[in-house]
């Protein structure tokens, strides 16, 4: 597609980001979840997966879903700099999605974590994968993180013992409205990596192929009675 001069002005500068190497996690149910970077052409499946959750206020699914919807749309339309999207898929069915942004060689900006399939710590695994991408793959020194739900606060701030820099506001502020900013530093990551982050690499072609085509879930535990 030809990109005209105006469109070029609207697009942010992009850094060349190292790709996230896909991995395979065996969940407690025995199901195999492929974690990999989402591709731009998969935006339809991603947005279609998120959309029904925009109407779910329980556990703040609505705010996380609507914001992630915008983030992925912004990524697709080149309106957010250096964003990446990781997806977890079980037999191709989307189980969870995370969004994040590379700000500089030193700093990452964690955006959102959306668990679709509940009860198996899919969100916890995907959040850890996101941190792995920031700190181990992209080589950043720290990641800014906020929580918009009690579940998020417990999973990230408490369990990772994140550094609270909210007192440094407004000098230190997360892009999501400057809400209290917590930070995963490299020493903190080194301390928790082995208990929070897992997955087998290299992933076999056969396993990777199961997630080659992303499939929107047909049911959601968050939406009883919903059928796609």
């Amino acid at each position: 597609m030809a990109i005209d001069a105006m469109e070029m002005k609207l697009r942010p500068p992009e850094a060349e980001l190292k790709p996230y190497p896909p991995k395979l996690i065996t969940l407690a149910s025995g199901e195999k979840m492929v974690v990999r970077e989402a591709r731009r052409e998969e935006v339809g499946a991603l947005l279609g997966t998120i959309y029904p959750l925009i109407g779910v206020p329980a556990d703040f699914y609505d705010i996380v879903a609507v914001r992630m919807y915008a983030e992925i749309l912004g990524w697709y339309r080149y309106r957010v700099a250096n964003e990446f999207v990781l997806v977890g898929a079980i037999d191709g069915v989307i189980a969870g999605i995370v969004t994040s942004r590379h700000v500089s060689p030193q700093l990452g900006m964690s955006l959102h974590t959306l668990t679709i399939k509940r009860g198996l710590r899919v969100g916890a695994q995907l959040f850890a994968a996101k941190m792995e991408h920031h700190l181990d793959v992209l080589g950043e020194e720290e990641v800014y993180i906020v929580a918009e739900s009690p579940n998020g606060f417990k999973r990230w701030m408490i369990e990772y013992q994140l550094e609270d820099r909210s007192a440094l506001y407004p000098e230190v502020r997360h892009e999501l409205g400057g809400v209290p900013t917590f930070v995963l530093t490299r020493p903190l990551w080194d301390a928790v990596r082995s208990i929070k982050c897992t997955g087998s690499r290299p992933i076999s072609d056969a396993d990777l192929k199961t997630a080659d085509k992303l499939i929107m879930p047909s049911e959601y535990s968050q939406l009883p009675g919903f059928k796609r």
């Binding site: 969940l27 407690a28 025995g30 695994q125 417990k154 408490i158 082995s194 208990i195 982050c197």
Partner: protein, 398 residues
């Protein structure tokens, strides 16, 4: 004493009901129970209601929930009282209900138990539950129930050779049953490879209170359950939709509030005594038990309780689990409901839920794949505190 039977059972889907009012959740279970008994329209003829709840004042900032439930159900002026005995509140309420009927004071008693624990965060729920510990010697020292569970498990491991993999085997068995139970909180099976043997098990099944892992502990759960008790010797006993399941034995016992005051912290004396008294009352023994619902808030308790009530030799229950003896098709199925581990543990409601499962199994009404084959006698043990107040119930098919 009159014979006491159960003619109705009710249960909510355990899980997250935090958007609801506790009175509504209790009323839902009670309505389900009265429909099952064919007595919903005649509910004002009930002689007495007992509601079991542990801590709605703290979880929901709501008290006097027995009165709330009565009004929700349009049951005034039926008398109703609240029974509180920590996580054993449910079975205690059944015991009190039994006493009311057996003594002749009442012919029909409705017992409802429930809790909404997810109104608060998980760590607040853990803190609220921990308030049942000894204030100075335990709670103020930072002890919690998972903390006690972890220490108890470590001692048991060192004494009897239990491994973390054995704990995982109990969880796999419980989740296999719970996945088929439409009322269970976590209806997801788990595999031994994923939670114990595989390369990712350490993270997928992370530590909660070492050596207890996520799949060694029950979830924080909302829910309610109800049973309708009747004097089996009274004419009204014939006016219900279903034949009664008899309460053959019900007994409770206590132990020291402080665990460190026990001669041997691995011995659960209140469990042993409650079990023995229930057996004696029923005229039965461990060999007569077809299946059991045991209070596995931590999976180690399923093993330890099963030994204390004589279902297995001391220190050997985990060997029976290894052989598959406690699976649904094993010699002695334990926790066919999924147990607290998979079905969930809404503290005030658990004891009632366990007895609902006894009745469901004895009627042959459990879902395919988790129905015990031709059961005659079921036993439940509801465990309060860290074993300081325990209630055992034995139900028998007539």
């Amino acid at each position: 004493m009159a014979n006491v039977g159960i003619v109705g059972i009710g249960h909510t889907r355990f899980g997250n009901s935090s958007e609801y009012d506790l009175g509504d959740v209790l009323a839902y279970a009670a309505t389900d129970c009265l429909k099952d008994a064919g007595f919903l329209e005649r509910r004002k003829e009930i002689d007495q209601v007992f509601v079991a709840n542990m801590a709605s004042g703290m979880f929901c900032h709501q008290t006097a929930v027995a009165s709330a439930m009565i009004s929700k159900m349009d049951m005034e002026p039926v008398p109703a009282e609240l029974i509180e005995n920590g996580p054993a509140s449910g079975a205690s309420a059944i015991k009190v209900g039994y006493m009311a009927v057996a003594s002749g004071l009442a012919d029909v008693v409705l017992v409802v138990g429930g809790e909404l624990m997810r109104k608060v965060t998980g760590w607040n729920a853990t803190d609220i539950v921990a308030t049942m510990l000894h204030t100075e010697a335990e709670y103020n020292m930072g002890l919690t129930l998972p903390g006690f569970g972890g220490m108890f498990t470590r001692m048991y491991m060192e004494k009897y050779g239990l491994t973390e993999r054995d704990l995982a085997l109990v969880a796999v068995k419980d989740h296999e049953n719970g996945a088929k139970n439409k009322y269970a909180h976590v209806q997801i099976p788990c595999t031994i490879e994923a939670i114990a043997d595989g390369p990712e098990a350490d993270v997928v099944n992370n530590y909660i209170a070492e050596p207890l892992r996520m799949y060694s502990t029950c979830p924080v759960t909302d829910g309610a359950a109800a049973v309708l008790l009747v004097n089996m010797d009274a004419p009204i006993a014939k006016e219900f939709k279903k034949k009664p399941i008899r309460i053959a034995g019900v007994a409770s016992a206590t132990d020291t509030h402080c665990v460190h005051n026990r001669k041997d912290p691995l011995r659960l004396e209140a469990v042993r005594i409650a079990g023995e008294k229930a057996y004696k009352m029923a005229g039965l023994g461990p060999k007569d038990i077809s299946f059991a619902e045991l209070h596995d808030a931590f999976v180690i308790l399923e093993l330890a309780i099963s030994e204390e009530v004589g279902l297995f030799e001391r220190g050997k229950a985990y060997l029976a689990v290894r052989k598959g003896e406690t699976k649904i098709d094993g010699r002695l199925p334990i926790n066919p409901s999924g147990g607290l581990k998979s079905k969930g543990h809404p503290v005030g409601g658990t004891g009632v839920s366990q007895v609902v499962e006894l009745v469901r199994q004895l009627r042959g009404e459990a879902e395919p794949g988790r129905q015990v084959k031709d059961p005659k006698v079921g036993m439940s043990v509801n465990f309060g505190g860290f074993g300081n107040n325990v209630v055992a119930v034995i139900c028998a098919k007539e």
